[in-house]
Amino acid sequence: MYSEKVMDHFQNPRNVGEIENASGVGTVGNAKCGDIMRMYLDIDDNGIIQDCKFKTFGCGAAVATSSMATELVKGKTIQQALEVTNKAVMEALDGLPPVKVHCSLLAEEAIHAALWDYAEKNHIKIEGLSKPKNDISEGEEEDEY
């Protein structure tokens, strides 16, 4: 059901992990629905994304879209990163099954959420970026056995 590229990014995900003291961190998704993505950005003084890492709870497509999204924004300017849409992520992965399109939306939202966090921390306004929808809270009740 998945393209070779999706399988490759799921099985060998790029840029998994955390960035300590990241310039911006964004978490999107909802554990109830089975997908949570967290994106870390390291942005230098010139506004270039030097590094990008992610952690994802979710299906194969959720992991693959996160991985591809990090590849697409690395080395880019903030404005270029904003142009990484869910369509761009899907195209780069040679497509997704229809039921998995929402995963690519999540990847786009994760980038935006991390940029929003960066903007807030630095008290700046990023042209064309609006406050991300954030419904992570529902997933935060953790039940322990």
Binding site: Q11, V16, C33, G34, K55, C59, G139, E142, E144
Partner: protein, 393 residues
């Protein structure tokens, strides 16, 4: 290990060699229509009668109480819709459980749209139906209780005899979907007061597309498929003789080694459960530990999602299934896991491993080894695990 380790026997099973051998002559040699008068047809009729007789015997039933169908879903549909139809004068209330197979649940939902009322009785945290709730749900207009013999996801075996007694006491028909239980555990329709029972061939190393519905003599439910005198006029259509012969051969194979098969599976099952519990943190066994199908293992693993697990297991040659949303085609995880009280995010991380008597301890060792590595890998990339570990510090 390069060969496939097939641990999805609740989904379907491999057709046994002896079953294929029994079926083959009925494709090319004895292909006659069982309703025909000539000898070729009589050969088919003979096979049909023998198969019916044998299957009836496995349940303590009579041959004229077994009706062949195209499988479990058809049997469930027939039992419920035809009962609703035949007993509508008496009442329009049906009782079932919250964890039934969709063949029962969706049929009940269909009836709800057509003027029937359905009570979905809850289950406890192990998936055992709440008998007091079931009793309380009974009304003067209740015509049917339909509760599955054993659950397809978590393997919990229901107190069928008790439910049968309750139904009998109140003069209500009792149907059980025994698709996961038939030829896996002993069943006796009289001792358990079962009025109707659904079963399917492909869950017991038989062919797909064949099953049966047991209907106790005297129950007046009508034809489901009109158009011929087959199956005592209650289910028209030229009999699927190779399928029926295959179903009977599969049942014979299973019943001839039932005790041995159960014992072997229980041993493997409990070994696998204990190793997973010992070696993988933050997991939960779903389903009842004792009242459980011999071949069912179902775990939830916290902080990870089922589909990811399945793909990585598949890479290692292990076929399994999950109750996560991504494997169900909707956004919600399995209704069974939610009914036993699991929060959504934990239901998403479920894994079902269903064994056969052909599996080995070595295979279980390999599965655990792979699972440990997969859990570590997926948790290391899970933001939920990251948050959890930070809170622990």
């Amino acid at each position: 290990m390069s060969k496939l380790i097939y641990l999805d026997n609740a989904a379907t099973t491999k057709v046994a060699d002896s079953v294929v051998d029994a079926m083959l002559p009925y494709f090319k040699e004895y292909y006659g229509n069982a309703s025909s008068i000539y000898q070729l047809g009589a050969k088919s009729k003979e096979a049909l009668d023998e198969s019916r007789e044998y299957i009836a015997g496995t349940l303590g039933a009579k041959a004229n109480e077994i009706y062949f169908t195209a499988g479990g879903s058809e049997s469930d549909n027939w039992a419920i819709k035809a009962t609703a139809d035949a007993y509508a004068q008496k009442g329009k209330h049906i009782i079932t459980s919250a964890i039934e197979h969709h063949a029962v649940l969706h049929t009940c939902e269909y009836l709800e749209k057509h003027g029937y009322e359905v009570t979905y009785v809850g289950v406890d945290e192990n998936g055992v139906i709440k008998l007091d709730e079931l009793k309380a749900a009974i009304r003067p207009d209740t015509i049917l209780i339909s509760v599955m013999f054993a659950n397809n996801e978590i393997g919990t075996i229901q107190p069928i005899k008790e439910i049968g007694e309750i139904a009998k006491e109140h003069d209500i028909l009792f149907h059980t979907d025994a698709v996961q239980a038939y030829a896996q555990v002993p069943i006796n329709v009289d001792e358990m007061h079962i009025d109707m029972l659904s079963a399917s061939g492909h869950k017991l190393n038989g062919p797909k597309g064949i099953g049966f519905l047991y209907i106790r003599k005297g129950i007046k439910i009508r034809s489901f498929v009109h158009g011929g005198q087959q199956e005592r006029g209650r289910r028209a259509g030229t009999e699927n003789i190779p399928g029926i012969v295959g179903l009977a051969a599969a049942a014979k194979r299973s019943f001839s080694m039932l005790e041995e098969k159960m014992q072997k599976e229980i041993e493997l099952r409990d070994y696998l459960i204990s190793r997973i519990e010992a070696e993988i943190p933050y997991c939960r066994l779903n389903g009842d530990r004792k009242k459980r199908l011999p071949n069912n293992v179902n775990f939830s693993f916290q902080f990870i999602e089922g589909e990811s697990m399945l793909i990585l297991l598949d890479n290692k040659g292990i076929a399994a299934s999950s109750g996560s949303a991504c494997t169900s085609g909707s956004l919600d995880p399995s209704h069974v896991l939610l009914a036993i009280g699991l929060p959504h995010e934990i239901a998403h991380g479920s894994l079902r491993l269903t064994l056969s008597e052909e599996n080995t301890k070595e295979e279980m060792d390999y599965v655990v080894e792979q699972l440990v590595a997969i859990m570590e890998r997926l948790r290391s990339m899970s933001p939920l695990y990251e948050d959890f570990m930070k809170k622990q510090k």
